[in-house]
């Protein structure tokens, strides 16, 4: 909001410079964002907080300055303008709940014309455009007193009188901005005997507005219920200087002063004569008070500031908050809608006593701090993935509805009990992004695409974040689960080298996921071949921990990859991190170091290429030979020299005893027995 320095000086006696005023106002919470020269004036750009509508005027800002400088306001309006008419028929208010006070002043024989230079200067300084003398005066008084008002051409009011009522649904009015607007039954309108002539507290009608030929003026100054004005303004999609002030709250007790000020100026500058005045004030203002046993002590208790009672009372009084004789009860003025409790008084005192005078202290020592229970493990997970070349992504939690049903979600996220399984926003600020994501993949794949578009083809990305789904619980609060998603494509990068070391494949994604799980204390994850709708058949695995399925990993299906225009394979994994973190980590069980050497045997087994490594490993371990300690993977071979459906898989078996050194012959016998079992069970046998 713009405030003119010269205008302020009309209202208060001060020798402060514009810079001083700006600094002082900022100090007490009226933040001055800028000072701009305008002719011989300075304009202060004040960023007001929403609780201080009383400062949306020069009078209000001047009042703050009187509290700062301990000075007095100059009264700007003359007394005795008001002439009440008895038994009036000029104004009827049908809805006194929504229109608490309404005044009308008739001013006759005005001459509409341009405003004098001083008025033009005042308005132009604060960025207002002069129109004509009457319109400028109502605008001027609004910026001086903070009270919006409206002037009608009396002769254009059908019946020559005013009725304040709720509009009937569908009633229309063309407003000053030349837009025809349809009203509904909740909106309060100022009407003549036929039709609405203004929308209360928002904007006037075009037909009854002041024109060059206007002679007689009806000046309306009123108070409307704040909530109703806010609702009307929202529904019409129309915010005006008037609605802005009315919905925050104007000073109901200052209405006559404002009306008189405008009347006086109109008579003076437009040659009018003040005539009838009507004040319909049905809901009289009742000043509220709050008690404070010891205001000085309360200020100390909440802020640490020592301010003597006398100074507290002085500050409050300068702001219009009057103290009782014993300084234990404080009455709020009609312009402060934001004060209700003792803490509000404390703030008034503290901001004027100065936040800069509050000392810096640390609260007394207390218990030890703590991270969230899962944070240390999540930190290790993040670091592990980063060490393996992964960059951490954060994508929006809302995604496009076109991703619905395309991706399989982590197990048990979607509640089969509810019909509408997803969480949907009423509206969004990003086109189509109405869905609270049930999967991080759409966001992560967008990031992959963005990077590919910038010629970064070798990518390893991960994100940790929440996904959402509807939940049929007692309170229906959505299901929120924290998950981990990774995406891998392109080649393995060596730092400082222009070309990749090799192309990445499924096993890079799997290795990263295994390392990530290991980092959070899960070293026994199982991977089984699976079919998942967004992943390619034959390159997909379900991920299991402790017998529960926690997610999946695989190569993005050709169909989805084509949709993203990916020309290279993309491998992804998504797992329920929350479920994984809930699994108790296995404590370390130390085993004594063996004194005896191990004997290892590598064997290449030829068989059908669908016989999996895990099937082979299980077939060895299920035989429970105490001396066979370990089965590990060496290599696979397919292609030249083998049938199309064949492969050769080389494994290493390790034999060892804790009691003695094994002899070759017994190992050989055992090894043969194991191989015989493999051949019998899986139809695979040594290749050489």
């Amino acid at each position: 909001m713009n405030i003119s320095y010269n205008w302020l000086k009309d209202l208060i006696d001060t020798d402060m410079t514009a810079d001083d005023v700006a600094a002082q106002l900022t100090r007490v919470g009226l933040a001055v964002e800028g000072i701009h020269p305008h002719h011989d004036d300075y304009v202060l750009d004040i960023d007001l907080t929403s609780n201080r509508p009383d400062c949306l005027s020069h009078l209000g800002v001047a009042r703050e300055i009187t509290a700062i400088t301990n000075s007095q306001l100059r009264i700007t309006n003359d007394k005795g303008q008001s002439l009440k008419t008895e038994g009036q028929t000029l104004v009827t208010i049908q809805d006194t709940d929504l229109c608490n006070r309404f005044t009308a002043r008739i001013i006759r024989n005005v001459k509409i014309g341009p405003s004098p230079q001083w008025l033009v200067d005042r308005l132009e300084a604060i960025g207002e455009r002069p129109i004509n003398n009457v319109a400028d005066i109502t605008n001027f008084v609004m910026h001086e007193h903070g009270q919006p008002m409206h002037s009608f051409d009396l002769d254009r009011l059908s019946g020559g009188r005013i009725i304040v009522r709720k509009a009937t649904a569908g009633e229309k009015i063309t407003t000053l901005d030349e837009v025809e607007r349809e009203l509904d039954a909740t909106m309060l309108a100022i009407c003549d005997v036929e039709k609405p002539v203004a929308i209360c507290g928002v904007i006037g009608g075009l037909d009854s507005s002041i024109t060059d030929s206007t002679v007689n003026v009806l000046l309306e100054v009123a108070y409307f219920k704040r909530e109703n004005i806010r609702a009307t303004s929202r529904k019409l999609g129309l915010a005006t200087e008037a609605s802005y002030r009315f919905e925050r709250g104007v000073d109901i007790e200052n209405i006559i002063a404002a009306s008189d000020r405008a009347t006086q100026l109109i008579c003076e500058l437009a040659g009018g004569e003040a005539d009838d005045f009507v004040d319909v004030y049905s809901n009289k203002f009742v000043a509220n008070a709050v008690t404070s046993a010891d205001i000085s002590e309360s200020v100390k208790r909440l802020t640490g500031l020592s301010v003597e009672t006398g100074e507290c009372v002085r500050i409050l009084n300068a702001l219009g908050i009057t103290a009782s004789d014993d300084n234990k009860s404080f009455t709020f003025p009609s312009w402060r809608h934001d004060i209700a409790i003792e803490e509000d008084l404390v703030e008034e005192v503290a901001r004027h006593a100065g936040y800069e005078n509050i000392t810096n202290e640390l609260p007394p020592a207390y218990g030890a701090g703590e991270y969230q229970r899962s944070e240390p493990r999540k930190k290790r997970l993040r670091e592990t993935l980063a060490d393996m070349g992964f960059d951490e992504a954060i994508t929006y939690s809302f995604i496009d509805t076109r991703h619905d049903g395309v991706f399989e979600n982590v197990p048990e996220l979607l509640d089969e009990q509810v019909e509408d399984k997803y969480i949907t926003l009423q509206d969004s600020v990003i086109d189509g992004a109405l869905r609270m994501r049930p999967s991080i993949l759409p966001g992560l794949l967008d990031a992959v695409r963005l990077n590919l578009n910038f010629q970064r083809r070798d990518l390893k990305l991960f994100e940790i974040g929440k996904v959402f789904a509807a939940h049929a619980g007692e309170d229906n609060l959505p299901n929120e689960r924290e998950i981990l998603t990774i995406g891998v494509t392109g080649g393995e990068i060596s730092e400082g080298k222009a070309v990749i070391v090799r192309e990445l494949d499924l096993y890079d994604a799997k290795g990263a996921l295994e390392a990530a799980l290991d980092a959070v204390g899960v070293s026994n994850a199982d991977f089984t071949a699976a079919e998942v709708k967004h992943l390619r058949i034959g390159q997909t695995a379900a991920v299991w921990v402790d017998g529960s399925r926690v997610g999946y990993i695989g190569r993005l299906s050709d169909e989805i990859a084509a949709g993203y225009k990916f020309k290279q394979p993309v491998y992804v994994a998504e797992v329920d991190l929350q479920a994984i973190l809930d699994i108790a980590t296995i404590p370390i069980a130390y085993r004594p170091l063996s004194k005896y050497p191990a004997i290892t045997r590598d064997v290449s087994l030829l068989g059908d290429r669908n016989v999996s490594f895990s099937a082979i490993r299980d077939a060895v371990t299920e035989q429970n030979f105490e001396l066979c300690r370990k089965v590990s993977f060496v290599d696979v071979y397919e292609g030249k020299g083998l049938q199309e459906n064949e492969r050769s898989i080389t494994i290493r078996l390790e034999y060892r005893s804790d009691e003695r050194t094994l002899i070759e012959d017994e190992v050989e016998a055992l090894h043969k027995e194991i191989l015989a079992h493999l051949e019998q069970k899986l139809a695979i046998k040594p290749r050489f």
């Binding site: 900022t26 925050r248 934001d338 503290a350 980063a386 994508t395």
Partner: protein, 363 residues
Amino acid sequence: MSEERARVEAVMTAFLNEFAPYAGLNLSGASLDDVESKLREVAELKIRHTGKKSPISGAMNLVGKVAPNERAGFGQFVQSVQKDIAAKIDRVEKTLNEIITNAKIESERLDVTLPGRRPRTGHLHPITILRQKIEDIFVSMGYAIEDDREIETDHYNFDALNIPEGHPARESQDTFYTTQGFALRSQTSTVQIRAMERRGVPIRIIAPGKVFRRDTPDMTHVPMFHQIEGLCVDKGITMAHLKGTVTEWLKRLFGEDTVTRFRPSYFPFTEPSAEFDFSCFKCHGTGKFESDRCRPCKGSGWIELGGSGMVHPNVLRAVGVDPTVYSGFAFGFGLERMTALMYSIDDIRHMFENDVRFLEQFK
């Protein structure tokens, strides 16, 4: 004896003749192969002239032929010739070997400026990095880290925070709603309420997390961002503790010379309320950096960071805490804005685009 001596000298002469090509050997510009073949020739020469069957070894037999009184002298003479021959050959062999060794070392010289063999390391998101730093500071100051739901009821997002129905902050078009009528939390203050319900008071917590506001994305706005909110409730807590705490963590993050400034403000859930600024980390409050207007603080010397205040009594009452017995402070600020200021990032939307060229700048 002179006859025998002459025969020994003849052996020497014959050797010297044969050795002559190697005596003053000039190998500059010779290839490694040349040097190696020379070495082989010298090795043959050595066998012929120093072995048991060499002429000089044969000359030892002459010792018996000279007069007994001259034998000792003659023997010494033969030995000295023998030594001389061996020494000459050894010297050449040594030189050749040195040349070969040096050539081999030279041929295996490495370019130590080539990059080391190192897999690329990844990068944590700048928001994670800053969050972890701030969490570390507050944990060391005795605070517990808390988080909670991102989709909330109006009760937690508004009512309990002293934002009743009809309040402008509630009706402003800032909040996202689900079709079921739940709010995406518009500030992490919701965690204050849930944490106080869980833990009771006294309490000291820090709540980092995602929040959502209906802002159309542009250079300085994003509809989702991260906030960190602090809360301390105990007996006897004042605004002095708020100022001290905020100043302390900013000093730990930006250095001992950091100072703070608190300005009166308004938030529904605090009373009194304050906004806080800190002295610019780049220009240290001078407003100038390398004689130009400092960018992060726009030349003011101050960086506006967040909001704070004494917890509103209605908020304490909402969780069953008696505001006449307990008081507390709360403060909050946005991580994206802070990150953008710290690194002069002109477009805040980069935070959620996940362009690797952006991410890999943060360590």
